[in-house]
């Protein structure tokens, strides 16, 4: 067996094991971490297929950013496992049907003689050319419009999410840091000019009268 094949089977075994643990793990935090492991192994398999850009982007975007926030949320929630597991059997038929449908669709794409993956063009990339460069060239020439439209949709999604969740609390005492930075000395401290105290003999008037300079 070739060394590459050994690596592939290692990645594939760990991937499937981790994916199974995602849905069987009792603790949601463990499930999320197993999902991270699954992403890592999927990235490894993509790397073996010489799709290095996709592999690294998967680690960077999903493992490095999306799953961090996921973990963040799951850790903060107090998930009640007993309630999550209620009604497992009543949901099973529907879930199973959706799963079978997805598996069937995948089989259709990968196995069919009419729509086989090997019929797709683009495998004639010259040896030694950079994967990332080729992808970028295609994205910004042939697929420039779909790419730009997709990014605009994402931007709208970001702004929409911020606008929907943004709320100003009335009782918040937070101060705008910009105002704090702009503060000058004179806004905080008032310099008072006071005459020196003299050693003059103490009389009742000098005690009563307030010092000058206010």
């Amino acid at each position: 067996m070739e060394f590459k094949a050994v690596i592939f089977y290692v990645f594939a075994t760990v991937l499937i094991g981790a994916a199974l643990r995602v849905i069987t793990a009792r603790n949601p935090v463990h499930a999320v971490l197993f999902l991270v492991l699954a992403f890592f192994n999927a990235a490894g398999i993509w790397m073996l297929l010489q799709a290095e850009f996709l592999a690294i982007a998967l680690v960077m975007v999903y493992v490095g950013a999306v799953m961090v926030l996921f973990l963040f949320v799951v850790m903060m929630l107090d998930v009640n496992l007993e309630r999550l597991r209620q009604g497992f059997w009543s949901y099973l038929p529907l879930g199973g049907m959706i799963g079978l449908l997805m598996a069937g669709e995948m089989a259709l794409i990968l196995g069919s003689t009419y729509f086989g993956a090997e019929n797709f063009p683009g495998q004639d990339v010259a040896a030694g050319s950079s994967n990332t460069k080729e992808l970028a060239r295609l994205l910004f020439t042939k697929y420039a419009w779909p790419f730009e439209i997709a990014s605009v949709i994402l931007l709208v999604g970001i702004i929409g999410a911020v606008m929907l969740t943004l709320r100003k609390r009335g009782d918040s005492k937070a101060v705008n840091p910009l105002d704090q930075i702009k503060v000058k000395r004179n806004d905080r401290v008032r310099m008072v000019n006071m005459p020196f105290e003299s050693d003059a003999p103490v009389s009742t008037e000098s005690v009563v009268t307030a010092p000058k300079g206010e």
């Binding site: 850009f53 690294i56 840091p177």
Partner: protein, 354 residues
């Protein structure tokens, strides 16, 4: 000389090991990178204590060995012999995995770092992407540590870490985009070699043709984001002694704690190396009459590291909301504008990158 020695060693080793040779040779190279790195990490802690001591008109560690030089070794032995205490309801497997996850990415990233022309473990095309991906994994160690400790202080620290590191990755990545634009490559060796060209480099003052000058705002953004990304002062609210004791590390002791420590300093050295390679010309000589070489990279890394320590000794800690404001409301707009500026500059007749 190096090549002659290699030619003497390699063929017999190849014959002896047969198909296992690539594996053994890669392992040897990994050890050649990791072992000096670990030594640098140890002496960086010593140097930090010394430098901060001098800046505060103290002496710093000076008891163990000549001039205190054995202090990091003594610290290491002490931490190694200490017991690792597990909190009662801690998630034990994750509690053990967390410090490993904090250290491993800081070491794995060195695979693509070129130390000199051709001195690189894996000269891959997507080197910058690999670096961004691997360094973004480092946050898991901190988050898992905070959660697995089953402690509120640790958890608060890990929440701060997650938000801070994800935020500053954005400005770091955007700053690197300008570097990629002017270099036209994701390969680190090509990025360094791209800085050796230009009017200034041809007239013998190479240090003016490095990326720091035309990309000056990005250099600043990258450096400051790097400090924030490694959770160093003044952005060390993740540890924040006065607020949350020591953040994610509060429940750790002995070698488990030491791994977090090693990870932090290894990440510092990594960020300094990245700054040197992306903006300060890597192993290139600053002036024409001196040869290029690894020692230039070492000098640059040491200077940036000194800057880290200097900043730590100088500035008070940022408040948490100000850190977030700096990342999102200051750095991200600056980088976006500068990407546009560099793009227009490259397309204009005034371009200096051809």
């Amino acid at each position: 000389m190096m090549d002659a020695v290699l030619e003497m060693i390699l063929p017999p080793a190849q014959a002896l090991l047969g198909p296992l040779f690539p594996l053994v040779w890669a392992l040897v190279k990994i050890v050649l990178i990791i072992a000096p790195l670990m030594l640098c990490v140890a002496y960086l802690t010593f140097w930090e204590r010394k430098v901060i001591g001098w800046m505060q008109v103290r002496i710093g560690p000076n008891r163990v060995g000549p001039w205190g030089l054995l202090q990091p070794i003594a610290d290491g032995i002490k931490l190694f012999l200490k017991e690792i205490i597990f909190p009662t309801v801690a998630d034990k497997p994750l509690f053990v995995i967390a410090p490993i996850l904090a250290l491993a990415p800081a070491l794995a990233a060195w695979a693509v770092v070129p130390f000199s022309e051709g001195w690189v473990l894996a000269n891959i095309d997507a080197g910058v992407l690999y670096l961004l991906a691997i360094t973004s994994v480092g946050v898991y160690g901190i988050i898992i540590a905070g959660w697995a400790s089953n402690s509120k202080y640790a958890f608060l620290g890990s929440m701060r870490a997650a938000a801070q590191m994800v935020s500053y990755e954005v400005s770091m990545g955007l700053a690197l985009i300008t570097v990629l634009m002017v270099s036209g490559s994701l390969n680190l060796t090509a990025i360094v070699n791209g800085q050796a060209k230009g009017l200034f480099a041809d007239s013998g003052v190479g240090f003016l043709s490095w990326n720091w000058l035309p990309l000056l705002p990005m250099f600043g953004v990258y450096l400051i984001s790097g400090i924030a990304e490694t959770n160093r002062a003044p952005f060390d609210v993740v540890e924040g002694e006065s607020e949350i004791v020591a953040g994610h590390m509060v429940e750790y002791s002995g070698m488990a704690f030491a791994l977090f420590f090693l990870g932090e300093y290894a990440a510092m050295i990594l960020v300094s190396t990245m700054t040197s390679i992306f903006f300060l010309g890597g192993w290139l000589s600053p002036v024409g009459f001196l040869p290029n070489g690894f020692y230039w990279l070492a000098i640059k890394i040491a200077s940036v590291l000194f800057l880290f320590l200097w900043i730590r000794a100088t500035f008070p800690r940022f408040r948490y909301d100000q850190i977030m404001r700096l990342g999102w409301k200051v750095f991200v707009p600056i980088t976006l504008v500068w990407i546009l500026v560099v793009g227009v500059w490259m397309m204009s007749p005034l371009t200096i990158w051809k």
